[in-house]
């Protein structure tokens, strides 16, 4: 063999031996994301290294740090996840979990684990699925269909504003989206911990992403485990895109929607009916 080939063979053989030595068959919880296959057995040592400090050795959110952090870490034994592309009550897809690990959760203690290799991350996702019996034998979760986004015209934004009033989002999020609606102070999550609704005026990224499609998914699938419900039974897709466009105007970020909205407000502000109990039907 040529020396280079010999070296490559040797290194590959060493690598193979080490890899196989570290892995045990765990096909039940295999994960498939981004062309990679993750195995729970390979994910376990990674979980102990990176995750168990908050999420607990048993995945029950009883890690040593959990008592000090707010919001609390995810309890994997409940298999209830906020950021999914699947309908409320369904398990997330492997891609949803992978994205959550990669993106982290802004304004929480969950960091973006993007520096970990993709293989490490799919292995971690596989291991996380072993904490709840709900995954065993469950069919592959199906994401909701997200049709193409409609144009972000002022008409779309105004229709979205009507949706915001009709669906009573303001009851928690407040008429201006400041997280100060009448029910905001009494909200608790599914573990009875107090929780605040998203305050659009902070301009921070959403916990489940930062694009318009992510925002669409948030209110069309609901954030399971929190007070945020799914509105998919009450919104047609084009109405949902209208709502997305309106919600963007409430963030202090120079998005196209906000710029369109502010330009329109210059001359038409008086036409707006207020949002809230006196808003009635817009």
């Amino acid at each position: 063999m040529r020396p280079q080939t010999r070296w490559i063979s040797l290194v590959s053989a060493c690598g193979a031996v080490l890899l196989l030595g570290g892995m045990r068959p765990a096909a039940a919880q295999d994960t498939h994301v981004a062309g990679l296959t993750g195995h729970a057995a390979a994910g376990k040592p990674l979980y102990v290294r990176y995750c168990a400090g908050c999420h607990g050795d048993d995945g029950d959110a009883q890690g040593e740090n959990a008592q000090w952090i707010e919001p609390k870490p995810r309890d994997f034994t409940a298999a209830t996840f906020k950021c999914r592309s699947t309908p409320s009550g369904m398990l997330p897809t492997d891609q949803d979990l992978y994205n959550a690990v990669e993106r982290g959760f802004v304004t929480t203690n969950m960091p973006p684990w993007i520096a970990l290799t993709p293989q490490n991350r799919v292995d971690l996702v596989s291991y996380i699925k072993t904490f709840s019996p709900r995954w065993a034998g469950a069919p592959a979760p199906q994401p909701i269909a997200i049709p193409a986004e409609t144009p972000a015209t002022i008409e779309s934004i105004l229709r979205g504003r009507e949706q915001f009033q009709r669906l009573e989002c303001w009851k928690c999020h407040g008429p201006a989206g400041h997280g100060d609606g009448p029910s905001a102070s009494t909200l608790t999550d599914s573990k009875d911990n107090p929780i605040r609704p998203y305050n659009f005026s902070t301009g921070s990224r959403f916990k489940c992403g930062s694009t318009n499609a992510d925002l669409y998914r948030i209110f069309m699938t609901g954030l399971d485990g929190t007070p945020m419900p799914s509105f998919i039974d009450n919104l047609q897709p084009n109405e949902a895109w209208d709502l997305v466009h309106f919600l963007r105007t409430m963030q202090p970020v120079a998005s196209p929607e906000r710029l369109t909205w502010q330009a329109w407000l210059q001359t038409h502000r008086g036409e707006l009916k207020p949002i809230g109990p006196e808003g009635g039907t817009q």
Binding site: V11, C14, A42, G53, N65, P111, P112, A115
Partner: protein
């Protein structure tokens, strides 16, 4: 030539005695005060100085429980085995010690949180050096010492002053009570909201992919890299890659930290304050790239680095004595190298090769001293709480500064083996049981560990073996 060597040896002895360094003391020492580096008679001072700076490198390593307390992550999240960083920790550091969750400004910390961590290592150790010239044994004898000992203490204060403004302050206390400032810097992170633009100013560690400050070796012979500290016989240079330097670093990284670069402009005083060398600058550049290949504990990384330094060779004098800070006639030296981090499952391999060349004026004779280093370090990280490691390093002179110096004079081989076992992996503090065996073999030259009498060997081709064995409790809180 022999006279020069003898003169040098005498000067070294005098210097060592005057600065109170007990021969064979295994405790690390700290560089203090100004040093002035000159030719001929002061070569010895230079030699002594870099010996001390090497020993200084033994102590400072950064593993920061304060970060664990601030962010609620265990040590193992950022470190393969602390203090060595993994890819997540490297990105955290590159980001200015920020996680990037909009909770990095100190206003989000509990009022009671204070960003300080301390680290020290009480130990038992054995040092033994062969072929040591003493008055009683001019042909050389073996000097051995054993006993309980303490290391210095590092005080690590690093964190954010505000979002995207990072600070670092690392002060050190030697076992004999000498204090020093290891690092003191401010860094402006994510300039223009881009991870590619960061500016650091102050005293800091160079952007070495293989970091000597955050590596897992502590003994007198194993706790530093020849590649980072070796200077050949008769050198007037003072530079050590592993020494923290004073200057400005402009650096950047890709979003996941897999591509990294830095360019720095540095003072020519090897990290010694008050600019004793006058008007001159060093420059450094690094570049590295990582690939997420394989199933290992981290991505595969490859990096290159280069350092172009200058040292003055002439000073103004008053009454015949040189005036510090008036250096001129700068002569340059070059360090070039490449290194990698290879992960095969839980096995980490770190090769490093480097090429060094000093200007003739910084050496003992008419030629440019040139040498090459190569090392391979291997860590088997069985769990975040147990690691075994080994390193083999060799230094080979390819050209001596003076043709009269034998070709192999100064060549060194270094072997180190060790383990670290952590009884707990925690989010508040940490402790490692540290066992290490290290042996260096230098041809003719005294070993860099500062053991023994510090004299060259009785004959130029005699190989001096210096051996360290240590068992310590390395804790940080």
């Amino acid at each position: 030539m022999i006279e020069r060597l003898t003169k040098g040896a005498v000067s070294i002895a005098i210097l060592l005695c005057t600065v109170g360094v007990a021969p064979g003391s295994g405790s690390p020492m700290r560089t203090t005060g100004k040093r002035s580096e000159f030719r001929s008679a002061e070569m010895a001072a230079a030699y002594a100085a870099y010996t001390r700076s090497v020993a200084g490198a033994l102590r400072t390593s950064t593993a920061i429980p304060a970060f664990a307390r601030k962010y609620g992550l265990r040590c193992s999240a950022c470190h393969t085995v602390w203090p060595e960083l993994n890819a997540f920790g490297q990105r955290f550091k590159d980001n200015g010690y920020q996680l990037g969750n909009d909770r990095d400004s100190p206003i989000w910390q509990s009022n009671g949180y204070w960003p300080i961590a301390m680290r020290t290592t009480p130990q038992w150790h054995l040092e033994s050096t062969t072929n040591q010239v003493t008055d009683a044994a001019p042909a050389g004898k073996t000097i051995t010492q054993t006993g309980f000992d303490i290391s210095g203490v590092d005080f690590l204060m690093l964190g954010t002053l505000h979002k995207d403004i990072t600070f670092g302050l690392v002060t050190t206390l030697d076992p004999d009570g000498t204090a020093g400032i290891e690092a003191a810097f401010v860094r402006f992170d994510n300039l223009g909201k881009s991870s590619w633009a960061n500016l650091k100013l102050g005293k800091f560690e160079l952007d070495n992919l293989l970091s000597e400050k955050r590596f897992t070796w502590l003994s007198a012979n194993g706790g530093f890299l020849y590649a980072y500290h070796y200077l050949p016989e008769g050198s007037a240079n003072t530079f050590g890659f592993g020494d923290n330097q004073i200057g400005a670093e402009f650096s950047g990284h890709s979003f996941n930290g897999y591509t990294r670069y830095s360019v720095s402009l540095l003072a020519t005083n090897d990290g010694d304050p008050t600019i004793p060398t006058g008007k001159s600058m060093d420059a450094m550049a690094t570049l590295s790239q990582a690939w997420p290949i394989g199933n290992g504990l981290g991505p595969q990384r490859l990096g290159v680095f280069g350092y172009l330094g200058h040292r003055p060779t002439a000073f103004e004098t008053i009454a015949g004595d040189p005036i510090a800070g008036t250096g001129s006639a700068n002569k340059s030296f070059l360090r070039l190298g490449a290194t990698a981090q290879i992960w095969l499952g839980n096995l980490e391999l770190i090769p490093l090769v480097s090429h060094a060349q000093d200007d003739a004026a910084l050496g003992p004779g008419p030629d440019k001293p040139t040498w090459n280093n190569a090392l391979l370090e291997a860590h088997y990280v069985a769990t975040p709480r147990f690691m075994v490691q080994g390193r083999y390093e060799l230094t080979r002179m390819s050209k001596q500064g003076d043709p009269a110096i034998p070709k192999t004079f100064g060549n060194a081989d270094a072997l180190a083996l060790g383990f670290r076992a952590y009884p707990f992996m925690f989010s508040r503090d940490g402790m490692a049981i540290h066992g290490e065996f290290a042996m260096t073999q230098t041809t003719g030259m005294a070993p860099l560990s500062g053991d023994g009498s510090g004299e060259p060997a009785p004959t130029p081709d005699t190989k001096i073996r210096s051996l360290s064995f240590m068992l310590g409790f390395d804790f940080a809180f």
